[in-house]
Amino acid sequence: MAAPITVRVQLEDFDLAAEVSALRRGRTDIGAVVSFSGLCRNEAGALNALELEHYPGMAEAEIRRICHEAVTRFDLQGATAIHRFGRIAPGENIVLVIAASPHRQAAFDGANFIMDFLKTSAPFWKKEHHADGSAGEWVSARDVDDAARERWED
């Protein structure tokens, strides 16, 4: 059967267990499920919230392109990617990626691949809002994220 790909860009939180259940529902051929959750973290108590801006339409389309590539490259049995936008407080979820395959390595690699490309090519931008109420800065792109993506290009 074709590997189901689920992509959502949403304001509201997601439920990891519910998303894994949805991916597995009615199937007995899946041997490995790997999930990654990205959270809003507070460094030294200085952050009040992150504001995530996105490009509606392209954000979904780009994540779907990345998931399709991962499913093809690693022969995944399914992939789910959910990315939130709007104001997100420390401790809250930002992103969820789930990859399913017959054996563990492809699921690990698939989830890893999707996250590496999502960080550098899905149109989202983070802005920091400080705990002292001062206007925050846009988060800068990190070279280490580009390097993480480039290691898949061989």
């Binding site: 990205g38 801006e53 090519s121 149109p123 931008w125």
Partner: protein
Amino acid sequence: MSTVNLVYFSWVRERIGKGEETLELPADVFTIADLLAHLKTLGAEYEAALEHENVIRAAIDQEHVAHGEPIAGAREIALFPPMTGG
């Protein structure tokens, strides 16, 4: 002259001072690079937003493109900084 819808995000949007606009482009604007050069003639806010052209990313009709990409036939062109999601 051709008409194109432009959309801006993150600090590109903030510096230009608007999220979207429709512009008539001169006939000698063929590529994204030409578009960036043209926009920088429109005012100080565009110059500030697009000062470092090498970091500006572009998408045509919601797909990433390089600065050399022709814009003929584009319905929507987006300009934005490097992405920081995930």
